[in-house]
Assembly symmetry: C2
Homo-oligomer: 472 residues x 2
């Protein structure tokens, strides 16, 4: 039976619809990017790439899906959000959930002992999308990781420096880099009386502090995860703390944490991190935040998260946006090695969709439009019958490496052609008409000044290139 | 019960294995790309992007999966190769099979009347992989398409010109661009007595001519697709033909084809294509090949395919590699429009994996190694205890936009550091020791000449930048 539009939309979710009977859309939580949006992306990507190259990082690429077993047991409570492929005979596959686990698989599989690599690609999470806030089911991650057995905290400090460099180069406003340490969290949990098997679930609850108030987090600890209410309350005292070196020193001498080898190891690491960051010129951005936990199971050492300060994201009062995060994960590679031989790793991932959104708002506030094309010359007919001449000019300009377009019409109107060049920010127009053909010349017109000069055809590419250089 | 290694490998295909009990690999038909391979890719991509920009194309991006219904009924016999996602509640999704159908969906959904766009991304086909020959289940396509109602064959000629420009810029050896026309094929099929409903299946059989001998193709036509043997034989006479303008003229007057409106329309198009290509300077690469059919159902007009000439691909005698293909598809956008309103399109797709493979072999034959990093300066300790000084220098160099690395060791050996710079092609080393710290200087060493000069610390970035400019 025929359905109304509303039912069709619903029906499209679960049934194999017939051609023409479905709602034309992208899958839930995904979107297309139009040319203007892509131009913004390229700009953000290129900035990030330039910082990655600054650090001598190499690039790798892995498949968009992995054997399901590669992803199993790596993400804790978030595993339920993994996209599985249908069993069509053959291997059981899942779409990658992040770039870190595939990286660890790559390191283990190729028996790599040290590498500093970046990887920019999309990952997939069956989360509840909040697209207006930049949260999608398909989104880019820009990852930079250092694998290898090195001097304590040196690669970690490099990752923090890199976060600072990317965010200051993107120039999207003030930011803070929160840091904490899984060993400090575990030390606190242990000292407060949390049984070891509950460290990760309780850590996962603490992770929700940036979205939920303490009361809700406490409820999860007590009601869902069976923690003694007084233990939860003691944890609550610690995770509220934040500061800098002086807080580390205070906690080193804390009665409960004094005897915790884990916490003390964490404090020593963070002190080194502050020291190295000072030498690298980025220590002023650091804040030691005991409430930072990071959701994923695989972190083992320092963790960090960069947040843009409140009120900057286009006026959403009080919104603090996390735009990068990461940490040390020393055991992940070992999970893939038959002999459990591991390679220590530390890395950072930039949450690019949010950076795009902020960059877009910033660009819209400016008068200069970002161009979606790079065309330098528009080849225009000054009169009818010039099609073949225009094609020849296009061939000549392209051969000289000049970016040039022309109309697809046989006899386009001159005014429309000039308007097109103006609308699309094409700096120069090459005009050809009958008299120009006879004299072996063309006119070169400056789009913004409208000034025109006559140029010999065999000097055209030289003249254009000179003018392009001057404009740069 | 424990299994031996061979059984484990088999078991991993169909069962949810336990951690550590599976074979560490990428999914069938996929692979990782290591840093050296990625450097080759970037080089090939950048060349292709530069040509796309030459033509004023804009970039778009679409999700990696689509609603399954978007892909249904677009690919003919190849539909069985589509990867489906598991139904985890919600929409039924499939991985994209090419970039053309998502592009048509994008055009229809956004009611776009004209756009010239490129899109570089991976697509997914559950084909039998032949990885040594560059055929994967996950592979890149570089697509350039022009949508819009324009003067006949002008966008088509631009696509052919673009294929020529990309291949000549990549400089991978001699190539030919085969062209044909779906209307000519349909005209031939009709004139030979093929019933209309068998046009596409018979076209699909002709498409196999580049891999199989005529005898096999004929067998498929007769045995599988129920064609009269004499009809197949007549088709066989036509699909063997190839030539240039003179073949078009001959066939225009062919007794069987004279009365075929479809064939005559196709001939008129090809004549225009030759004429425009001449003006654009790329006609000498064209060959009219009646045996070219292209597999996909959606083509409606001119079709083309670029092949590298035999014997070039690293000595594989007689191998002719198809590296790009495309054509006109005027009805695809209409399949997504509720009122069947269409937008005519023409485009081309570069088969990038094969181009990579050829570029890699070419690079290996050369002495100059492609670097996987771009590092300009290595900061080295000349003696112990220089770690904090090295970090300060890294901070200074990075702030000045200079790409610089240093060792992660507290006290690395000088020789090892110099060797690292040499092995990785890093052109300069900045050396710091105790006496340099006291005097406020550093040594700048040229890696290849080994010449060293002493430079004041506050002049360091200026000196480095000068030296980098000179080397360019």
């Amino acid at each position: 039976a025929p359905k109304n539009a509303g039912e069709q939309k619903k029906g499209a979710q679960n049934s194999k619809g017939k051609s023409g009977k479905f709602v034309l859309k992208t899958p839930k939580g995904t979107r297309d990017y139009n040319p203007a949006e892509m131009a913004v992306r390229r700009k953000v990507f290129n900035t990030i790439y330039s910082v990655f190259h600054m650090h001598g990082a190499v690039e790798i690429e892995t498949p968009v899906f992995e054997l399901k077993e590669v992803l199993t047991g790596k993400y804790g409570e978030d595993s339920k959000l993994i996209y599985d492929l249908e069993d069509q005979g053959g291997e059981i596959l899942s779409l990658r959930y992040d770039l870190t686990v595939p990286f660890a698989r790559y390191v283990a599989m190729n028996k790599i002992t040290n590498i500093k690599r970046y990887h920019v690609a999309r990952v997939y999470r069956r989360d509840n999308p909040a697209m207006t806030r930049g949260r999608y089911r398909e989104f880019y991650q820009c990852d930079f990781d250092i694998a290898g057995q090195y001097e304590a905290m040196l690669p970690d400090a490099e990752c923090v420096q890199l976060v600072h460099q990317v965010l200051s180069k993107l120039d999207l406003g003030e930011y803070t880099i929160k840091i904490n340490h899984r060993k400090i969290l575990d030390g606190v949990f242990g000292a407060c009386g949390v049984p070891a098997e509950k460290f990760r679930p309780i850590c996962s609850a603490v992770d929700k502090l940036d979205k939920s108030p303490w009361e809700e987090v406490r409820k999860e600890m007590v009601d869902e995860k069976g923690l003694d209410p007084s233990v939860a309350d003691t944890i609550g005292e610690y995770v509220k703390l934040s500061g800098r070196e002086e807080l580390i020193e205070k906690l080193e001498n804390d009665e409960r944490l004094k005897g915790s080898a884990a916490a003390q190891a964490g404090f020593a690491d963070l002190k080194l991190l502050f020291e190295y960051s000072k030498a690298l010129g980025c220590d002023t951005y650091l804040v030691f935040d005991m409430g930072l936990a990071r959701g994923l199971d695989y972190y083992t050492g320092v963790i960090y998260e960069a947040v843009l300060k409140a009120g900057q994201e286009g006026g959403e009062e009080g919104t603090v946006g996390s735009v990068a995060g990461g940490g040390r994960y020393d055991q992940l590679v070992g999970m893939f090695d038959p002999k459990k031989k591991t390679v220590p790793c530390v890395g950072v991932s930039f949450g690019i969709e949010r950076l795009f959104a902020i960059q877009e708002r910033k660009d819209k506030a400016q008068t200069d439009k970002i161009r979606a094309t790079q065309t330098e010359v528009f080849v225009a007919s000054a009169c009818k019958g010039m099609l073949m001449e225009r094609l020849k000019l296009l061939g000549t300009l392209h051969t000289a490496g000049i970016k040039a377009e022309s109309s697809y019409k046989n006899n386009p109107k001159l005014l429309n052609q000039l308007q097109y060049a103006e609308d699309n920010g094409i700096p120069m127009v090459v005009l050809i008409g009958e008299s120009e053909v006879q004299e072996g010349v063309v006119k070169v017109r400056n789009t913004s000044s409208r000034e025109e000069v006559t140029v010999k055809r065999d000097e055209l590419t030289t003249v254009i290139k000179q003018r392009l250089t001057v404009n740069l």
